[in-house]
């Protein structure tokens, strides 16, 4: 059986974060969460966990989603990125510029996100857990 796909979900809204966690966890994903870009970056740089896909909100304190995407694309180029925004066009456009693989506008349908994850990981070649 294939190893579960590993997700890192980042949002400063804890309700959204726990909803996402519950949903993807119940769908068989290995899920970690972070409350902002800085927490996510620390988790990534600790290197105790590997991830296949990053799902991130854009407007957040400290390191914004756009900042996180820019850093991740440079330091972890294999990691697929789905950006979500509820703040109009600007952050979304910046996320595309920072080369997010998918940009979705809130409110987002969780099943749709899952479709995007599958499509992204099918196209690419996600690393599998050893």
């Amino acid at each position: 059986m294939a190893d579960p796909v590993r997700l890192l979900i980042v949002d400063d809204n804890e309700d959204i974060l726990s909803t996402f966690y519950e949903f993807f966890n119940s769908m068989g994903y290995a899920v970690k969460t972070a409350v902002d870009g800085f927490a996510a970056l620390k988790l990534l740089r600790e290197k105790t966990h590997d991830f296949d896909c990053l799902i991130t909100d854009l407007v957040m304190p400290n390191i914004s989603g756009v900042g996180l995407i820019s850093i991740v694309k440079k330091e972890y180029p294999d990691l697929k990125i789905i950006a979500m925004t509820g703040y109009g066009d600007q952050p979304g456009a910046l996320a595309s510029e920072a080369r997010a693989d998918v940009v979705l506008f809130k409110p987002v349908d969780l099943f749709k996100i899952e479709e995007k994850i599958i499509a992204l990981l099918d196209n690419g070649s996600p690393k599998k857990q050893e």
Partner: protein
């Protein structure tokens, strides 16, 4: 440039240090927010110090201190003949900061027309000096700072939303000193040591535990800069009582209404003016013209217009210094109290060469 370290032990300050440590090598646009005097420039300098750009310059520009056209030519430079008075080509701050850091202080006060141009430069990485049809590639790390609530200014249509999001890639919010009191003892210690080495002959006593408690419980409307100023004064006056007397009241905003502004009420000012106004006319005139010269020369020197300007400037300078001192060099508050725009206050401060106490 000597970088002031970030002093403190509070959770918020340690988090800022950790954030700087994590993002300084990314050179992504940074927006630093916080009240006047919290140390926004210090954070910017620390970012620069930890970045891979230290071999190049850290260039600072205050977007509120210059009129629009001057700010534009300062930022982008100009070609010879670009406008009347442009006798020779002059490079701008973008050129000076190439491969280094451009610190845009008071970005919230940048005029809207210049915000569009700034946005264009940030998007394209190119700019052209005034009067030039050539585009220059620029590689600057932009760190911007403001004490305004930019989201509020966006709602008021005074700040461009697209520029805000482009700058706000990394956001560092520095809380006011009153929200991180645990940093105060370390800051007191730091500035004591700094001024002791700077002024070895002035030995003000350090605060005893009661005084330290008072310092920690004071709300510091002018934040770290005000605290720094107090320590500097203590080095000279060596009287905590005097220092506390001169501070805005601990109930905060009350002080200005209770103490009418005027040279008499501030012992720190040049107090030879006030009695002179009341008493000795000759000595008053002597402050503005040299009475010891011959009559011919004297009559040549006396011009009502010039004297009026000198006298007004002098009084204005004193009143501004007085108010700034009372509010811990919080310029926004001082402008409100003086009932002038923030910009006007900054012009006057530049004109009168009024600088906040140096670090």
């Amino acid at each position: 440039m000597t970088t002031t370290p970030l002093i403190g032990v509070s959770k918020s300050l340690l988090k800022i240090k950790e954030l700087i440590n994590h993002v300084a090598n990314t050179c992504l646009n940074v927006l630093i927010t916080g009240e006047t005097g919290v140390g926004k420039e210090v954070v910017a300098q620390n970012l620069y110090e930890e970045s891979p750009r230290t071999a190049h310059s850290f260039v600072k520009i205050n977007c509120a201190a210059l009129p629009e056209t001057l700010l534009e030519s300062e930022l982008y430079g100009y070609e010879k003949g670009a406008f009347t008075g442009a006798h020779k080509k002059r490079p701008g701050k973008f050129q000076a900061a190439h491969k280094g850091v451009l610190f845009l202080d008071e970005i919230g006060d940048m005029p809207l027309s210049l915000q569009s141009k700034m946005l264009h430069v940030l998007q394209s990485g190119e700019f052209s000096p005034l009067g030039s049809d050539q585009d220059f590639k620029t590689d600057v790390w932009v760190i911007a700072a403001t004490n305004h609530d930019l989201e509020q200014r966006i709602k008021q249509k005074q700040f461009r939303e697209d520029l805000f999001y482009r700058l706000n890639i990394i956001k560092i919010d520095i809380p006011p000193l009153r929200e991180r009191k645990e940093d105060i003892p370390a800051l007191v210690e730091y500035y004591f040591r700094l001024y002791t080495s700077e002024y070895p002959n002035n030995q003000g006593s350090k605060p005893d535990p009661d005084t330290m408690e008072r310092l920690c419980n004071y709300p510091w409307p002018g934040n770290v800069r005000q605290l720094q100023n107090c320590i500097k004064k203590q080095m000279v006056l060596n009287s905590w009582e005097k220092i506390f007397d001169e501070m805005p009241s601990e109930e905060n905003h009350g002080i200005v209404s209770r103490t009418p502004p005027g040279p008499q009420s501030n012992p720190g000012l040049d107090n030879n003016v006030h009695p002179d106004f009341a008493n000795d006319q000759t000595s008053l005139i002597s402050q503005f013209v040299d009475l010891s010269t011959s009559s011919d020369k004297l009559f040549q020197d006396i011009s009502l217009k010039k004297i009026k300007k000198k006298a007004a400037d002098r009084v204005e300078k004193e009143v501004i210094t007085f108010v700034l001192d009372k509010v811990g060099w919080n310029r926004s508050r001082a402008a409100k109290i003086l009932k002038v725009s923030y910009k006007t206050l900054l012009y006057k401060m530049t004109e009168f060469e009024l600088d906040p106490p140096s670090k």
